[in-house]
């Protein structure tokens, strides 16, 4: 296990990230527990800067996802390397329910589809996205399925009662 090299890489990464994002919090993640070596908590739309730093370091965008918390959304970006000394970085951002975050699709074209998916399931509208349409759900759907408010029927509530 090339732990030494990874430490070096992580140090470099931290440096360049803190150079790009002076005010953000960069913390070491607990790999054994969360599967990420580095965690960046963004307070505002710094994800474009993170994305360009990661692109420079030749990390690929593993996935973007959102989690619907009661009062806000959390957008989670996973970046990882192709190198032997593997490293995964997670960037999190809390946004309010009505906010429109910036799209990273200008840096990573893959994000076009990933962000479309998030829009499709959560209704989060990304700014500067070239093609924000539904992707998996029908084009004429008027619902956002992964919101916690969606799909709680009486039956599922009953089942929850039985189980929990």
């Amino acid at each position: 296990m090339p732990t030494e090299e990874r430490k070096k890489l992580l140090g470099e990464l931290k440096n360049s990230l803190s150079g790009a994002l002076p005010e953000e919090r960069i913390i070491s993640g607990d790999y054994a527990k969360t599967g990420c070596h580095l965690e960046v908590r963004l307070s505002d739309a710094g994800m474009l800067r993170v994305a360009s730093v990661m692109k420079e370091k030749r990390f690929y965008l593993e996935t973007i996802t959102a989690v619907d918390f009661p009062d806000s959304f959390e957008l989670v970006y996973f970046y990882s390397t192709w190198h032997q000394d593997f490293c995964r970085l997670v960037a999190r951002i809390r946004i309010s329910k009505e906010a429109s975050p910036r799209s990273v699709s200008s840096v990573y074209p893959e994000a076009i589809w990933l962000e479309r998916e998030i829009y499709d399931f959560f209704g989060i509208r990304f700014l500067d996205h070239p093609d924000l349409r539904r992707i998996l759900n029908p084009d004429n759907a008027d619902y956002f399925p992964l919101l916690k408010s969606f799909g709680k029927t009486k039956l599922t509530e009953e089942i929850d009662d039985i189980l929990c």
């Binding site: 969360t34 593993e62 192709w82 995964r88 589809w113 070239p130 093609d131 599922t156």
Partner: protein, 375 residues
């Protein structure tokens, strides 16, 4: 830098016409829909339209307890269901801190690699069928049948296995399974020369696949391409090696890499990967430890609140489960990062300028499973 345009009617002129390839088409492997604009037979633009088999697995996960999501995992990618199953169990075990007995890990690796072989056999042969040779497809199925028989012997079903459990596996493997697996490996090794003679060295096949649908390293980085598709482009990235999980570090195997990045390279990577999988299985069978196959796990698990990302390598690339738990029996959120989703999107970049026939070959060589994209 960005070369992605969406198709609108304004760019359609007299020369360019639209063709809907799919959702019902013999070579789109399920219900993929490629909206293409063609100039003669040359593709001007291609846009994959997905979602025809969307079943809402991620939403389903939020409405059922952790165990109940197990049967769903093998339905996300039905061709490598065991690997998905394996990965989900490992992700939840990571979140809960459940120890898995070593024998169970070995069994998981053996079955996962068998599943990988079966998936690659089908992927390769379906791709060869897309190029027009029907017979190798059925030879591949003949071999795949043996894998499925083996997996049926241990898991009880042939396609949508629900075999792994939190903390272990359902059934132990027996002597007969081990012997059968060794026999199968010998048999498949003997069949490789036939495959190479019939397919790899066939001049028509070479002509159809060399230099077609090239994915460069930079394109792969842009689109997050993983799996054999990426390894065909000269990057030796494999989660089993780079971010080892389960008992993979104990085995000696290589990651086949090809520099060319074309259709042929991806085909060759898959062929070589099957051989490596056989190596892993043989080593695992040799070193199979005795012991329990399942650790003590509560009937229904209650993971602690928190989140965890777990990546593993399916037959198509790097899969990731992002799991958020709020400390109850029901998952708060399960996100599945499926490799085909990213691997398919790269088509918008590499298809323009190719003939329809090459598009079909490229699509086949990426080996997408549509339900995996749609989830």
């Amino acid at each position: 830098m960005l070369n992605i345009k969406t198709i609108d009617d304004t760019t359609i002129n007299e020369r360019v016409y639209q063709l809907n390839l799919g959702p019902q088409h013999p070579s789109t492997h399920g219900v993929l829909h490629l909206l293409m604009k063609l100039d003669g037979e040359v593709v001007v633009e291609a846009e994959p339209i997905v979602g025809y088999s969307h079943r809402g697995h991620e939403k389903m996960a939020e409405n059922r307890i952790w165990e109940q999501f197990l049967p769903n995992t093998s339905r996300i990618d039905y061709l490598s269901g065991l690997i998905y199953n394996h990965g989900y169990c490992m992700a939840v075990e990571k979140l809960c801190g459940i120890e898995v007995p070593e024998r169970a890990e070995y069994i998981r690796v053996i079955t996962s690699e068998l599943n990988r072989i079966s998936s690659h056999l089908l992927g390769i042969m379906a791709f060869v069928m897309d190029i027009g040779a029907f017979t190798p497809f059925l030879y591949g199925w003949d071999d795949r049948e043996h894998v499925l028989d083996l997996l049926e012997r241990v898991a009880g079903s042939r396609l949508t296995y629900c075999y792994n459990r939190f903390g272990g596996v359902r059934n132990d493997i027996d002597r007969e399974f081990c012997d059968g697996t060794r026999r199968f490996i010998d048999r498949l090794r003997g069949r490789f020369s036939d495959y190479h003679n019939l397919i790899t060295e066939n001049i028509i096949f070479i002509k159809r696949t060399r230099g077609i649908g090239i994915i460069t390293e930079d394109t792969a980085l842009d689109f997050g391409v993983t799996g054999p598709t990426l390894r065909g482009s000269g990057v030796g990235y494999d989660v089993r090696k780079n971010e080892p999980y389960s008992v993979y570090p104990e085995f000696d195997f290589e990651i086949p890499v090809r520099k060319e990045g074309d259709v042929m390279a991806r085909y060759q990577v898959r062929m070589a990967e099957m051989e490596q999988s056989m190596n892993i299985i043989e080593q695992a069978l040799d070193g199979l430890p005795q012991g329990p196959i399942r650790s003590k796990v509560p009937l229904f698990i209650d993971p602690p609140a928190g989140d965890c990302y777990f990546a593993f390598e399916s037959a198509r690339g790097a899969v990731g489960y992002y799991i958020v738990s709020d400390g109850t029996r029901i998952p708060y959120r399960i996100k599945v990062r499926t490799p085909s989703f990213s691997n398919l999107f790269v088509l918008t970049r590499i298809l323009p300028g190719n003939f329809i026939a090459d598009c079909i070959a490229t699509l086949g060589s990426i080996d997408v499973v549509v339900p995996e994209i749609d989830r």
